[in-house]
Symmetry: C2
Subunit: 290 residues, 2 copies
């Protein structure tokens, strides 16, 4: 797993169930636009607002509908160990290349030892050598997170199983430190604004919500970097500027508003509470900026 | 539901499954000590570290083992609406008098409108007139919470269904405001240190973790207050002092250490990660203070 991954939005019906056809169509569109992979059922995909059965059914349907399982990086985050075990096993059965694992996020102020024990138990209970864990660091939602030291402990203890991280702390210095401290760790920035820097620091790419809209342009940055082209910098600058269309708006509702505009499909208005639908004026303002 | 409720600890086996016998025995001990009710599977009960099936199986076993369902206030908090619906329906099927409902706690910075919509959907989907919702406000863990205004909106929109709150913000002024702003709301303080004040403000009691240890003494404060006795104040002062034995230690591990000491049963050492077992020195220090 490396390159540009979209943190995929989950299209929903008016009754808040996942719309299977729109989900597969959106994933296909993102791959066609150049995404190397698809981070499904993460924060952007409203994963924690769906039950385990809903997530497993929906990712199974995606593969049935022709999305190759090896491009998928499903979110398997849960507060409860048995839930994380179930989701991880199901992701392996699906044929996904890895799983994106949140820390158990209910309790705050927990220790690195407690988090280490959670992942040790998870790995033992999943009991499958094919497991590839990407540690999902997103303190804006979980408050607690993975210290750089804890990532090192997990890498040492579970080589070949703990393989990567997605870093959504929004802190370039931390991403650089991870790339340089742990050369074997696959490092994805949580935003494509850090894409070129991450690649240059020895990291592997990005997994980003805004890639639902910017997949093509993000891929161009990746390809220019890979080709050693001097144009990579200006393309990254243009990408960083382009993704500002959402600034000041709530991320997931705003991205769904853009999808509604792009596809003309009203189902993109639907979000699970506690997330709110964006009002029409805000949606129009975002589309105008875009 | 009113009076002294213990936020019940969940005893676990070495493999981290719930120990049925110890759970029923502990609940019986708390009722014998004078607890009016039992808040099972809240924060103290490590509810969010257990799967839905584990919670439902364990509370079913409690009732089979002789704990009267009407004294139970099960936690039904979940990030995902369908999970909260399942837990609420199961609690009703059990015969519980009410349910303690967390706000969906993954996303931060959500609006009152989004939270209102979550509870409106929950109530509609449960679709049962017997539902009695107690809103569980615990910002130290969930970060987001129920504004005083939101509680008023929910009371107005769902009279007889939204009936109460447990307030674990640790803020006496907020508890007083809730008691006085909404006289029809059942208000439980999240700590027995506010018990007498809450009763005097027109509230209803407390639901507290430390009542796993102080149930008897807390009940005495309640009874003295009910009898109009002048001794209520000195008894509350003694209770407030007594519950300081845990100060400076992590709450749930420390309470389990006390239970281990009291019962002599080693299973009280077991906690689900990310919570940590207390080391023996700390456990001894707490027991000495007690």
């Amino acid at each position: 797993m490396r390159g540009v991954l979209a943190a995929v939005l989950t299209p929903m019906n008016a009754d808040l169930s996942v719309n299977r056809e729109a989900f597969a169509a959106h994933c296909r569109r993102l791959l066609d636009a150049g995404a190397h992979g698809l981070g499904i059922f993460g924060t952007t995909g409203e994963a924690n607002s769906l039950s385990i059965a809903e997530r497993v059914d929906a990712w199974g349907a995606l593969v049935e509908d022709g999305i190759p399982p090896e491009v998928l990086l499903p979110g398997t985050g849960a507060c409860a160990l048995p839930d994380a075990v179930t989701l991880s096993r199901e992701a392996l059965a699906l044929g996904a290349s890895g799983v994106l694992a949140l820390p158990p996020f209910y309790y705050k102020g927990v220790s690195d030892d407690g988090l280490f024990r959670y992942f040790a138990e998870l790995i033992e209970r999943v009991g499958d050598d094919r497991l590839r864990l990407f540690l999902y660091h997103i303190p804006p939602q979980t408050v607690i997170g993975f210290s750089v030291e804890l990532i090192g402990r997990l890498l040492d203890a579970f080589p070949g199983v703990v393989v990567g991280t997605k870093d959504s702390a929004g802190d370039a210095a931390r991403i650089e430190a991870l790339c340089k401290t742990y050369p074997s760790l696959t490092v994805f920035a949580g935003s494509e604004r850090f894409l070129l820097d991450t690649l240059r620091w020895g990291g592997d790419g990005c997994i980003s919500a805004t890639c639902n809209v910017t997949a093509k342009q993000s891929r161009r940055v990746y390809d220019l970097w890979e080709a050693g082209s001097a144009e990579a910098d200006s393309e990254q600058a243009a990408l960083t500027e382009a993704r500002k269309f959402l600034d000041g708006y709530p991320l997931i509702p705003a991205l769904k508003a853009v999808m509604r505009h792009t596809t003309g499909d009203e189902l993109w208005r639907n979000l699970r509470p506690p997330l709110d639908v964006l009002d029409d004026d805000a949606a129009r303002a975002i589309v105008a900026r875009l």
